[in-house]
């Protein structure tokens, strides 16, 4: 028999609680915890919650973005970038995180899921290094 993964549990919880509220939602959640207890999977609750969050975001059209720059980005530029990314990924909502990292030297790196657009100076220098080292 195939093993039950945290993702399987998360999907089941999502389907059981979808479109429910109040007492009904409370009952479903209580049932979910009981099943986890019976299946001895309480220890995996962190992974299950993470998967549940992923499922929720996917279903609700939420896109997570991670932006890394060398210096702090101005508020106006941030807003513009968020708007552009929301349009590009056709997202209903955008959850963005901004990081400052001096090592990138300049430019920016945008990560959306496993898609990465690296326009940092560090990456350009790496490309230049590769270009100069290749045999001609």
């Amino acid at each position: 028999m195939a093993t039950i993964t945290p993702k399987n549990i998360a999907e089941a919880i999502y389907n059981a609680t979808k479109d429910k509220s109040g007492r009904e939602l409370e009952e479903s959640l209580r049932g979910s915890v009981r099943v986890l207890w019976q299946k001895r999977m309480i220890g995996k609750s962190d992974d299950i919650l993470k998967e549940l969050q992923n499922i929720f975001e996917r279903k609700e059209g939420v896109v997570r973005v991670k932006v890394t720059t060398a210096a702090k980005m101005e508020e106006g530029v941030r807003k513009k970038l968020e708007w552009e990314l929301k349009e590009k990924h056709k997202a209903r909502a955008l959850l963005s995180e901004f990081f400052e990292e001096r090592d990138v030297l300049g430019g920016m790196r945008v990560e959306v899921g496993d898609e990465v657009t690296d326009a940092t100076y560090r990456n350009r220098l790496r490309q230049l290094e590769k270009f100069l080292m290749q045999e001609k």
């Binding site: 990560e111 898609e115 230049l128």
Partner: protein
């Protein structure tokens, strides 16, 4: 001087154009024994090449729901959890050019013989393409429309093989036997005998000791055979992933030459170790084990590799790949899983036996268990004429030999057959690294099958054979000319040969 360097660098930097592109990037979740589990890489294909943050390459093999199982083609100790992994969008490929001839390369086509990189310039002495090309290591085998039936021989220079179990260009003939029975020796002899035969050779060493490989390379260099040979090596100390891909790299190199219309002989030494390496990878990737713990697709592993050996018809550029896979058996058990698989895939097998080897019959070919399903149509007419009944004679001899041990009263016909058999075994014995030319084989076998050797003492057969070849070369020139140039067998040539053999024999017996 320094100004010149700066100026050159400035020019190169000006020519450089940085491009910003969106890439699929994954993260290493865990690394163990040459395998990495990677998250992300959602659009990756099976067999696609990936690059790790430290420059190492890998191949995506297991596409799971949330992770990708990657085999690492290099040093996995420098890859750590959290490292970035980039998909390249390309199936694993190797660079090949005509200058790869004479070189020893590793499983990913990188030279390891200390002679520097394989350059694009110059081309080879045999002409053809001189630029570097990229060949994917996994490729679908040529279709049925592009193929032609086997019709031209591969002369191995080994009498027992060329006469009884002939191999044709485009054939897949398995060399099977226990350890230390001379499987590699046959392969090396076959390579040595390709000199001047318009054949490129690729030797793929899988999981072999480096010392054995070095010895083999030295032997080929001594015989001036490296000039038409490429060695692909995945040593015993290297990761299983490299042993797994080495045969595919070898056949890609062979395809590069076949695409130029050339004939290629490829030797996989050996596919038992290849299967073991694949089993190791599969178990680490948590694929379900089957018989002998091999994964379910171990048959496909070898069938897709050996199916790439073929003979293409002239419309599709000609050329051929002849494959000689080697399988090592345990205690002569050819009914084990991998041997039976490869026997069913190939067009015949040459079975080498330990008992024969220790009896001094070398090459230790068991004629009864060996077979060539398509090679006989590739035999030249002269060889067909002289070796037609040899296999049957030898099989009968083996049977009679066992039977004669029970009683001493044998009729004359049986005694004659036994004596002929003893001489046939003696004639088929051959020392290592001494391949015999086809025309010489024809002369010896003619003398044997026509009974000229029947009254020569068994211990003088070798002496008789070498003397006969010397004598006929001088006195049966028309015969040799016909066999070498037109591969024909005429009554006139036969008469000349008969006379030469009779003359030599009368002087030898005296």
């Amino acid at each position: 001087m320094s100004n010149q360097i700066v100026e050159n660098l400035r020019k190169e930097i000006e020519a450089f154009k940085a491009e910003v592109k969106t890439e699929k990037v994954g993260k290493v979740m865990e690394v163990f024994d040459g395998i990495a589990k990677v998250s992300g890489l959602s659009d990756i294909r099976s067999g696609e090449m990936v690059t790790f943050q430290n420059g190492e390459r890998g191949v995506a093999l297991n596409l799971e729901e949330d992770a990708v199982g990657v085999i690492i083609l290099g040093d996995f100790s420098k890859i750590k959890e959290g490292d970035e992994v980039k998909a390249t969008g390309r199936i694993l490929e190797i660079s090949v050019s005509n200058n790869i001839l004479g070189r020893v390369v590793n499983a990913i086509g990188v030279p390891i013989d200390g002679k520097g990189a394989i350059s694009a310039q110059g081309g080879s002495a045999s002409g053809g393409k001189s630029s570097i090309e990229y060949y994917p290591i996994e490729k679908v085998a040529p279709g049925v429309i592009t193929r032609e039936s086997v019709g031209e021989p591969v002369a191995t220079g080994i009498k027992a093989i060329d006469a009884i179990i002939p191999i044709g260009r485009g054939q897949r003939e398995l060399l099977i036997g226990d350890r230390q029975t001379g499987k590699t020796a046959i392969a090396i002899d076959a390579i040595l005998n390709q000199k001047g035969q318009n054949m490129i050779c690729v030797y793929v060493s899988i999981g072999q000791k480096d010392s054995k490989l070095r010895k083999l390379q030295a032997r080929l260099e001594a015989g001036n055979s490296m000039e038409y040979t490429v060695i692909v090596s995945a040593g015993a100390s290297e990761a299983a992933a490299l042993s797994y891909i080495a045969p595919y790299t070898g056949v890609s190199i062979a395809e590069f030459f076949m695409d130029q219309g050339k004939d290629v002989l490829i030797i996989y030494d050996d596919l038992s170790k290849h299967a073991v390496a694949y089993r190791e990878i599969s178990l680490l990737l948590r694929r379900p084990p089957g018989r002998e713990a091999y994964p379910g697709d171990v048959f496909y592993l070898h069938s897709r590799l050996l199916e790439r050996a073929c003979r293409r018809n002239a419309k599709y550029g000609g050329g051929s790949i002849t494959a000689l896979p080697i399988i090592e058996t345990q205690a002569g058990d050819i009914s084990a899983y991998i041997p039976t698989n490869v026997i069913s895939i190939t067009d015949g097998q040459i079975f080498l036996e330990t008992d024969l080897f220790y009896k001094g019959v070398r090459p230790a070919v068991n004629v009864g268990s060996s077979v060539s399903r398509v090679g006989s149509s590739a035999q030249i007419k002269a060889m067909k004429k002289v070796a037609g009944t040899l296999k049957l004679d030898l099989a009968q001899f083996r049977e009679l030999e066992a039977f004669s041990q029970f009683g001493s009263d044998l009729d004359d016909a049986t005694k004659r057959q036994l004596e002929r058999g003893k001489r046939a075994v003696e004639v088929l014995k051959q020392t290592q690294y001494a391949p015999v030319k086809t025309e010489h084989q024809v002369v010896t076998l003619y003398a044997l099958t026509k009974g000229y050797m029947d009254d020569v003492p068994v211990n003088k057969i070798k002496e008789f054979e070498s003397g006969l070849i010397d004598y006929t070369e001088r006195n049966a020139k028309t015969f040799y000319k016909e066999v070498i140039e037109s591969k024909m067998w005429t009554d006139k040539g036969e008469e000349q040969l008969k006379k030469a053999i009779a003359d030599f024999k009368s002087s030898f017996i005296k």
